[in-house]
Homo-oligomer: 131 residues x 2
């Protein structure tokens, strides 16, 4: 238990959504000036190993981290990146169905939905529009 680890945990706790290691780094530096990048990487890995943080594994590519917490979900606007929180209860039925059909045990879920937020529907931005 060191001041660096506490600073990094503090950053994760007070951030919504996930953070890349570098984002954690620059934020944590504000409260722990001497902090270095390698320490951030090693600490995030440590936190993940101990269940205090979750790597948002896209399966490929790079990692982002978020604080471990009850199942919760996000809805992200494909256009502006705006993010809102989705109530966990909405997915309870889906969870049960998924577990019974797949054999997986679901947990630590952080489901991300994508769409267009009301504001971007107005402005009609079409970047990455799949339709």
């Amino acid at each position: 238990v060191t001041s660096q680890r506490l600073a990094i945990l503090h950053v994760l706790r007070h951030s919504r959504g996930h953070l890349s290691p570098m984002e954690v780094y620059s934020r944590a530096r504000r409260t722990a000036p001497g902090l270095t990048a390698p320490t951030v990487y090693r600490t995030l890995e440590f936190l993940a190993d101990n269940g205090l943080a979750w790597p948002t594994s896209t399966g490929h590519g790079h990692l982002a981290y978020e604080i471990a917490q009850k199942n919760h979900h996000h809805l992200i606007c494909r256009s502006c990146g705006g993010e809102i929180v989705v109530k966990p209860a909405l997915l309870n039925h889906v969870y049960r169905k998924l577990e019974s059909t797949s054999g997986y045990i679901l947990r630590g879920n952080h489901v991300t939905f994508f769409g267009l937020c009301p504001k971007c529907q107005e402005t009609g931005v079409r970047k990455g529009d799949p339709q």
Copy 2:
């Protein structure tokens, strides 16, 4: 329409899940030997801008891409990274509910669930175990 773009599209089409730019690069090189990394980055961005590929935006951190297609979902094992496909119909009800409560229009969804696959339940791996 160039051979490089076709090669990259081919890679995306024949891959399940998302790929990081570098993974796309090394795979596409097999069919397009002269291909360079900057071209891959620029092409992926181009494909995303034109709705042919979706960036898996984690909101922060780095990007991975996948081919644009009908809504579909993955269930990823937190331990071994194994990935299975989830039927879209399972989430129809959730979609309607989400749209009516949030004002977002959902589309281009690629929901990722996390859990423990049957094999890893046996071996009892506990890395990143949130319980």
